[in-house]
């Protein structure tokens, strides 16, 4: 089972500039763990000190938002996980 992950520019510094990666976890959290092994620091940069997803990021499966169950959300082969980085400010 393979899932595609699409990263925002701010996470591509961990993947050497690669935007789209493959993973095989059963949940979003497992897929990110897998990537963390390949690219240390990537998952950690998504989380606050309590281990929750920072709200400057949003995770979507096939364009559907996952808030508030991002990490536990199940994924299936062929799914596309998109991580967005929101940066409006002020």
């Amino acid at each position: 089972m393979s899932v595609r992950l699409k990263l925002p520019p701010i996470l591509q510094e961990f993947s050497g500039g690669v935007e789209t990666l493959e993973a095989s976890g059963r949940t979003v959290g497992e897929c990110l763990e897998e990537l963390e092994e390949q690219f240390p620091g990537m998952k950690e940069s998504l989380l606050d000190r309590q281990g929750h997803l920072l709200r400057v990021f949003g995770i979507y499966i096939n364009s559907d938002g996952l808030h508030p169950v991002e990490m536990d959300a199940p994924v299936q082969g062929g799914d596309e996980i998109v991580i967005l980085n929101f940066l409006m400010g002020g």
């Binding site: 520019p9 606050d48 000190r49 400057v56 949003g58 400010g89 002020g90």
Partner: protein, 613 residues
Amino acid sequence: MSSYNGRLIRLNLNTGKSRVEEIPRQWMKDYLGGRGIGVRYLYEELKPGVEPLSPENKVILMMGPLGATTAMSVSRMALVTKSPLTGAVAKSVMGGSFGAFLKFAGFDGIIVEGESKKPVYLHIDKDGIHLLDAAGLWGLDTRQTHQKLRQKHGKTTQVACIGPAGEKLVRYAVLISDLRCGGRTGVGTVLGAKKLKGFAVNSAGPLSLHDADGFRKVNREVIQGLKASPGRIRMSDFGTSYLTLGFEKVGIFPVKNFQEGHLEGVEKISEEALAGIKTKNDGCYGCMTKCGQVRRVTEGTYAGAVSEGPDYETIWSLGGNLANTDLGSLIAADSLCDRLGVDTVSAGNSIGFACELYQRGIITKKDTDGLELKWGSHAAMMTLLEKIGNRQGFGKLLGEGTKRAAEQIGKGAQDYAIQVKGLELPAYEPRAVKGYGLILATANIGASHMYGRPRDELSGKKDKLTEVDKGQDAAKAEISQATQDAVIQCSFGPVTGFNPQQRSDLLVAATGFKKFGDPAYLDKVGERILCLERCFNVREGFNRKDDTLPKRMRTEPLANAGPATGQVFKNLDGLLDEFYDALGYTRQGIPSEEKLKELGLDWVVADIKKFAK
């Protein structure tokens, strides 16, 4: 037929008379509206060296060509004057609904000049323009003023007014319209000096459009795309508060007057904590996002306090910057600032400045009216805000802004005044995001976060910490912001929903001006506005020496700030050169004659030759 009314109200407070006059049609084409036309009037009508709190200064309220239409988040209003805080050009953009109803009343703007002998306010309705006695309003806070004016003129009256801070000439007083605020750098102060309490308008449209069908077609596409936009939904859910934890983690969120980048207990004032006391959304005219978060404190010392906010800036200025993690006090302080009519960024920054002076023993209880200014003391913060807004005791000094206060205190206090050109820095640590630092250094109004955003840097497309190859991005960001402020659109892109071409198409359909159909033309308008603001400042004696950052950023390594720990801003000079080159300015930060001519600002050349230093 056009979405421009093409006329404004000129209110002369010396005579108490107002008249309606046409806005030059060419100015609409060259400057679009809002900040653009406002700055054009300011440059034209203010002599160099005018004292900002004198009758000779003017306040210009100006709408944009899309204001009061059904396009999303474009009914904001620009406020332009000469700042009493900086002595430079001032621009600010206010949300809410007042501006839309001003347009419905048939006016694109108001120019306020002169000075009244007694407190007055301006009322506009179908019967005309009336300057009315404000004796019964003077001294009231902004919320009370709204209530009184609605009791008198009707529930649907749109109001924009100053509070006690503006009346008493606190140098960073603002204008408040319902729960929205505008006027950083002291627009409210200038209105207070003129004894103009505010504005009330009763109107009922409609607004004409050049091509209503064409407008509707483009707008429908935009709105369709907006409905499911993740960025828009995030803004609706959290407002800008969602930035807090993410920015604190990477050292962008300054703590204890920019001494460090880590706030112990930040989760207590995080977006999640604030979401827990949210009661509803609120927002501007013609916006489906309603990013305003109305929150109510349910327990503790501040139970019952309600505010629309705080937004990211105020979470920082009255929270992190003071090491204050008391959620209830943040809501109460935000509400207090709105009622007093005081800018939360400058107020919080000024209190942080005072706390650091106290920490270092530069001031003591003898100077602070007996207040112990410990980091994290929300009770002291609330007391100081009251004192600032009412210009009492130690608050009178802090209400002068950090630059003037430091000069008066002496004893090295200047080193802890975190300001540029006299305007206090916002919630972005320049050492952790260098391109933003360059914008804060070069912004013509002083260190404002609303003068351009380095999007590539914030999104991770560019390294935040490098200090080369950022001048062009900063120049583009400032140009882009100028165009946005002329349209006038909300600065949160995902809230408006349109791309540059759709924005151009909406402008053409609304106004009939075909040139607006080319996004590159609108970029050039933005560049012209930015350049004219710089020329205004040159006429006032500003140059490269004023495009700087506080000494702390240039000399002290940033402490405890995640990936930005140890950072110093070392190459500001190099970045300034890049920035000036990108804009066609000399290395002294003065627009070159060639650039002025390219932008159609030939008429400014003689001034620049005369005043450039």
